[in-house]
């Protein structure tokens, strides 16, 4: 090995190892409080470290709100909750200019911040609000700032929107538009807990002796880790694999598999590929590796791509689960191009 190759800064490795250790500690801490959602917790952490947002889908009563609050506490992030209803207005989220009197008694217009000005925004039952209100989140999610009356206000980093929706009760809901869906880094499914997990949940929540949460990470550290994550390199072969996966979800391209041709109207957007690679970097770092592997890409595929596939009429009519299509794409797409 030549000297130039060993001339890397050892502090980088130390920082990476420290990040991995801290994040695993966060997982453990949340695991002490939340039973049976280990993978979901990890995926939320991935979203945060990738500066992404997550849409959690699950029936009521599975602890989604509780999980998000716990998440914010462990990361020492300010958390707000908005219950989305049909009469919710964008200003209720973003804030609005109000007429106030100052100490001298003069009237002036002042921007009153809405609940979006937090670090963890819980958008509960997001599909109950009108599309107009839903779209109020677009700028905040993409640009990390909001604009009111021509004036832009930056949000405090790290900022993450964690929205929930009920997949069963669809009456009186407004399905999220594709543009809104695409802005969610991950779509996570909150599964019903197993029997043992449910037993633990019942035990913990009925005894009144919940453990006290510790703050493992401070916001600045989280931001630093977000920067570090983007430094994790991915080889061209791995990135090509991610791109091939995304291309494979498009029904109008040569070589698409039968399921995609039949059940998918539009495939994943480029954000899907970005999401795959970024999430894979977090998975690599959490595994004490400094290069992204094919397994990391595969691991990120389902939460990254499932909400980015727009099913065709046939797919909708037959009740096709996008997860099934993504799984088939994973099965049929080779790692190496040759």
């Amino acid at each position: 090995m030549s000297s130039s190759q060993t001339a890397w800064d050892p502090r980088v490795q130390e920082r990476a190892m420290a990040a991995g250790t801290k994040i695993r500690a966060v997982q453990e801490e949340i695991g002490r409080y939340i039973v049976g959602h280990g993978e979901l917790v990890e995926q939320l952490i991935v979203c945060l470290l990738c500066r992404g947002h997550a849409l959690l889908e699950g029936v009521p009563g599975l602890g989604k709100t509780f999980l998000i609050k716990t998440f914010g506490e462990v990361f020492d992030l300010t958390t707000t909750r908005i219950q989305f209803t049909p009469d919710l207005m964008p200003a209720d989220i973003i804030g609005t200019n109000v007429l106030v009197r100052d100490e001298q008694g003069e009237q002036l217009i002042q921007f009153q911040q809405g609940p979006i000005f937090s670090q963890v925004l819980l958008a509960d039952e997001i599909n109950r609000a009108t599309p107009k209100t839903q779209s109020a989140l677009l700028e905040a999610m993409q640009e990390q700032n909001v604009t009111v009356a021509g004036k832009t206000y930056a949000l405090v980093p790290p900022f993450i929107v964690l929205a929930t929706q009920n997949p069963i009760e669809m009456e009186g809901t407004y399905p999220l538009p594709e543009a809104q869906l695409d802005r969610f880094f991950f779509k996570l499914k909150v599964e019903y807990p197993g029997q043992d997990d449910l037993l633990s949940i019942v035990d913990r929540t009925t005894t009144g002796t919940l453990p006290v949460l510790r703050q493992i990470l401070a916001a600045p550290e989280t931001v630093e880790f977000q920067d570090l994550i983007r430094s994790v390199p991915a080889s061209r072969a791995v990135m090509e694999y991610a791109v091939r996966l995304v291309y494979a979800t498009h029904p109008d391209l040569d070589g698409s598999i039968d399921e995609v041709k039949r059940f998918v109207r539009y495939g994943s957007s480029p954000r899907g590929a970005q999401s795959l690679v970024l999430a894979a970097k977090v998975y690599a770092l959490l595994d004490n590796r400094y290069a992204v592997g094919f397994d990391d890409i595969r691991r990120a595929a389902l939460p990254s791509l499932r909400h980015r596939l727009i099913l065709s009429f046939q797919g909708e009519a037959e009740g096709i689960d996008p997860d099934r299509v993504v799984a088939r794409v994973l099965e049929t797409t080779p790692e190496a191009g040759s």
């Binding site: 190759q5 001339a7 800064d9 980088v12 994790v232 390199p233 080889s235 290069a291 592997g293």
Partner: protein, 511 residues
Amino acid sequence: MTPERTPGLTELVRTLEMRWRILVLGERVVDAATVSLLASLLILLADAIFALDLPVYRTLLVVNGAAVIVALVQVAMRRREASGFLIDADRAYRLKSLLVSGFEFADATVEDDTRETESPRRAFEMIVVEQAEERSIKIEPQKVYPPRTPRRAGIAAALVAVVGIMLVLHASGWFDRPDPPFAAEMLMLEDAGRRLADRAEENDELRLLAEELQQLGEQTRDGAIDPQETRRRIDQLNERIEQQVRNLQRTPPLEYNEDAEIPPEAEESIRGALRAGMSDAEVVEFFTRMRSEGNTVPEIVDALEEATPDQAPNANLGVDEERLRELMDQLNRPPPESDAESDIVNDLEESQRVLQQMGSGLAELSEGEDLETGSAGENQRGVGRGGSPEPGDETGSDDADDGSESGGQQGGTMAVEDSATDDFRPAEQTSPVFREIEGIVTDNTIMDIIIRELPSEATSELTEQERDVVFERVIEEAVNREQTPPELQRLVRNYFLRLTFANTEGADDEQ
């Protein structure tokens, strides 16, 4: 690729590629062999079913050889990126893309040396390169590409077994189609008919007989007439042939009288002919032809004088007195029996013999064997039985005598020259091949049949001795066919025989 920076990874890629090519080669060869063996099987089946008479071994060799060559070329031409081998190694050792990443990052660090070394990304890349280089030493190619049985090995093995069995059956003659009954006899009959037609000239009865012989041969061979009809026509033809033979034998031979003696005064005419440039052989031929046409000696001498221009008395004869005397003696010998009549009789007798063979064969078949489904062995026995000269067979023995006297001119039994005594004796006594195929070889036409039946590039299975016998026979046939004057036949035959033996000895010496 940066071999100087990543010698371990570079070497690993090389060994992995070699191992991979060997495995792919095995796979491709088996795939190609599966196809070629299938083709071989089809060829063997087609050859067996449709009697294509293909050069089976050569065809199979070409087909299978070509398949292997195609597989080799395909593998040699196949290209795969180095990262592919490292991805396989990562998967085999569960290294989560460490090797392939390290290999690529090694390139990247060389290509982009301007990046700050403090950059976390650069640091991560270097760490990965270092880890990959260390890990590459422990990678075993056989674990990455473990030996595996090619996918179609079972099918290929089954095909090899089937093709092998087919080849064994082919070699043992299992697929040989039985010759049609009396195939050899039919050919002989046709041939005899053709020769008879050539010699019949103005004899309408003989020409008709010849045509019917040929027709019978063709129709029987093609299966156009049933055995009963064949037998009826054989009987008819037999009777007519016997009648013709009797008629010809009743014809009195050309009498040899005093007039046939060459008078001394004719010597001058012969000298004149020799002076004019005729060879002694041509003089003999001239006399023989004139005699056979019924001319008397004076008429022959007159014709000779007319045919040769006058020459000076002291011109060089080209022969000495002693040779002239020998020539005169030769001319004074009694004229030979009419060749044409002798040939016709021989042809008729041969045709009759063939007809008798067919008749007896048909009689045997009609007793118990089906004419259409008789096996090859039975047919061969039938031919052998019919074709072999029976002890005491007059035709055969007469032919043999004729052969020995006239240099095998028309003999039914082949004559072989004894190197020690310069005599000729029947071929059956010397040649194992003729004993093996029994009486067939005693027929004049058998050489034609043998030669005609052989494929153009077929390899003879005759021994050297047998080949010489066959060659002698061919020479005799050629000499007879060209109507070489009888006096010159022995000379011509001996010339070719000497030529042949000289060539053989020369070849032996070279060896």
